[in-house]
C-alpha cells in the first residue's frame, strides 16, 4: 500500500479537489483507496462529495470513540467505482473545530497512534492507497499526516509566497523527517506555460527546488473547476475536461512511484 499526503504551505492551492479527484480516478482504475480528511480546521471533503451531515467522523476514531468501520464510508457502490473508496470525513461543526484546536500534545500523540494503526489495518484489508488531505502549513494534524505518509505531494501555486514557504517546509520538516516529496504546481496561469515565460519559470523552479524535491508537474488553471463551485468531482462528472486529463498523468506518476521499502509489513 502507498500512503501519501497532499500538503501545501498555504491554503487554497487545491489540495482537496486534487485529493478527491485522484482518489476517484484510482478507484475507477480498480484500486482500493482510502481517503481521509485530516484538515480539521477547515473540513471540506464532505462538501465536494455532496455528503449530508453524518454522525460519525474521523475525529471520533482519533479520540478512540469509534472504530474504523464506523467512521469510514465506502462510496464505491453509490459512485459506481471499480475499486473500493473508503472516505473518512472530518467533523465540520464549529464546536468540533474549536475543540480540535484546543487539543494538547498528548491528544495528538494519541491521534497519530490511531492513524498508524489504521494504516496497518487498511493495508491488511487490501487497500492500495491511503490518501491524506491535510491542513496547510505546519499544524499538529498536518505533521501527523506527513509522519504517517510514505511520501508527500506538495501542492503549490506559482508565486513567491508558495516558493518561499515550500522551501521552508522542505528544509525544516521534510528533510529532518527524511520524507520524499513530489512538487505539483496547481492553478498555473496558462500564459506561464507558454514560451518564453515557460523556460524562465522552469529554470526558477529548478534552481529553487531541484536539490530538495522532485517536480511532479503543472496543472493549469481551468475555469471548469471554478465553475463547479466545489460541489462536484470532475473525474466523475466531466471526465474528458483538461483538468481531469492533467490529473490522469499525475495518477500515472503515483502508480509508478515506488511503495515503502525496507519496512516490515509495508511500514509502521
Amino acid at each position: 500500500m502507498k500512503c501519501f499526503t497532499l500538503h501545501s504551505y498555504k491554503g487554497g492551492t487545491g489540495k482537496t479537489t486534487i485529493a478527491a479527484n485522484l482518489a476517484v480516478m484510482l478507484s475507477q482504475m480498480g484500486r482500493n483507496v482510502a481517503l481521509l480528511d485530516l484538515d480539521f480546521q477547515a473540513p471540506s471533503l464532505h462538501t465536494l462529495f455532496g455528503i449530508r451531515p453524518q454522525t460519525t467522523y474521523i475525529n471520533a476514531y482519533l479520540a478512540q470513540e469509534k472504530t474504523p468501520k464506523e467512521v469510514l464510508v465506502d462510496l464505491a457502490p453509490s459512485l459506481k467505482l471499480k475499486g473500493r473508496l473508503l472516505v473518512g470525513f472530518s467533523d465540520p461543526n464549529v464546536e468540533a473545530i474549536r475543540s480540535q484546536l484546543a487539543r494538547d500534545r498528548k491528544w495528538h500523540m494519541q491521534a497519530l497512534s490511531q492513524l498508524l494503526n489504521l494504516k496497518v489495518r487498511l493495508q491488511a484489508e487490501g487497500a492500495d492507497y491511503m490518501i491524506l488531505d491535510s491542513a496547510p502549513g505546519v499544524h499538529y494534524s498536518s505533521v501527523n499526516a506527513i509522519v504517517l505518509s510514505d511520501f508527500t505531494v506538495i501542492v503549490a501555486k506559482i508565486d513567491n509566497f508558495d516558493f518561499d514557504g515550500t522551501v521552508n517546509v522542505l528544509d525544516g520538516l521534510y528533510t529532518p523527517l527524511n520524507k520524499p516529496t513530489l512538487l505539483l504546481f496547481n492553478k498555473v496561469v496558462p500564459a506561464l506555460l507558454e514560451e518564453p515565460r515557460y523556460s524562465q519559470v522552469r529554470k526558477t523552479i529548478e534552481d529553487t527546488f531541484s536539490s530538495k524535491t522532485k517536480l511532479m508537474g503543472f496543472i493549469p488553471c481551468y475555469c471548469d473547476i471554478a465553475l463547479g463551485m466545489g460541489s462536484e468531482i470532475h473525474a466523475l462528472t466531466q471526465p474528458k475536461i483538461p483538468f481531469v486529463q492533467s490529473l490522469k498523468k499525475m495518477a500515472t506518476i503515483l502508480e509508478k512511484w515506488p511503495g515503502p521499502q525496507g519496512t516490515a509489513k509495508g511500514g509502521t
Binding site: R105, K106, H108, M109, L112, S113, L116, N117, V120, Y140, V143, N144, I146, V147, L173, P176, L177, N178, T263, A264, K265, T268
Partner: protein
C-alpha cells in the same frame, strides 16, 4: 522503594550518588536540591535522622562525621536509622583517606556502587521506572535520530511494547531493538518499566 542514595561532604557538595530512578531528574540538579534540603533540615531539626517529604518522595538525612548520607524513598517505612548508619559508616571506612586529603577525583567513589546495590533490595532496582520527559508526538519525532525513528513509530503505534515485539515488527534482532528503545528512553521520548513479564517500553 528506594530511589537514590547521595553522599555529601561539608559545604553541601555531592561526592557520590547512586540513582535508581532516572526520572528523578538530572543527578547534578538533584544533588543541589538535596544539598539545600540537608542544610535546611540540620538547622531545623538537629543532627538526628531527619525526614522530609518533597514532590511525592521522602528524603532522609543523617550526618556521619564529615559526611551526610541522604536517601530518597517512596515511603518512610523503607528507611531506618540502621540502614542510614550502615551506608554512612561503610562509606567512611572505605574512603576515609580520600576524604582526609580532599581528593577532587570522585570517580574513586564509584566502587561504592557495589556496597549500595547490596544494601538496597534488588526488588527496588528491578522496579525502577523511567517516565518519558515529553510526548512522542509528530513534532517530537522530527527530533528523533533517523536510526531509531522506525522503533519510535512502532512504539507510538502500540503505545507500549517489549523489545521482542519491536524486534519482530522491525525484522531486527533483539539486541538492536533494545538498543533503539533504550536510545529513545535516553532521549526522554519513551519510558521504561519492569513488569512481571519483563521490561516494557511505553510512551
Amino acid at each position: 522503594m528506594i530511589r537514590a542514595v547521595y553522599i555529601l561532604i561539608e559545604g553541601g557538595i555531592c561526592i557520590y550518588s547512586r540513582v535508581y530512578d532516572t526520572a528523578l531528574a538530572d543527578s547534578m540538579l538533584m544533588s543541589s536540591f538535596v544539598s539545600a534540603i540537608t542544610t535546611f533540615s540540620r538547622e531545623a531539626m538537629g543532627d538526628e535522622l531527619r525526614g522530609i517529604e518533597s514532590g511525592g518522595h521522602f528524603l532522609f538525612v543523617t550526618d556521619h562525621d564529615k559526611i551526610s548520607t541522604v536517601i530518597v524513598a517512596d515511603t518512610p517505612g523503607e528507611v531506618s536509622s540502621s540502614v542510614m548508619d550502615y551506608i554512612g559508616v561503610s562509606f567512611l571506612s572505605m574512603f576515609s583517606v580520600h576524604l582526609q586529603h580532599q581528593m577532587s577525583d570522585t570517580s574513586v567513589y564509584r566502587s561504592f556502587d557495589e556496597v549500595i546495590d547490596r544494601i538496597v533490595p534488588q526488588k527496588a532496582i528491578a522496579e525502577s521506572r523511567v517516565d518519558p520527559r515529553e510526548p512522542l508526538d509528530a513534532l517530537s519525532i522530527v527530533e528523533v535520530p533517523r536510526s531509531v525513528r522506525d522503533a519510535a513509530l512502532v512504539l507510538l503505534r502500540r503505545q507500549s511494547l517489549q523489545a521482542q515485539q519491536a524486534a519482530r515488527e522491525l525484522s531486527i534482532d533483539i539486541n538492536e531493538a533494545v538498543e533503539k528503545l533504550e536510545r529513545l528512553v535516553k532521549l526522554g521520548k519513551a519510558g521504561r518499566k519492569e513488569t512481571i513479564e519483563g521490561v516494557v517500553y511505553f510512551i
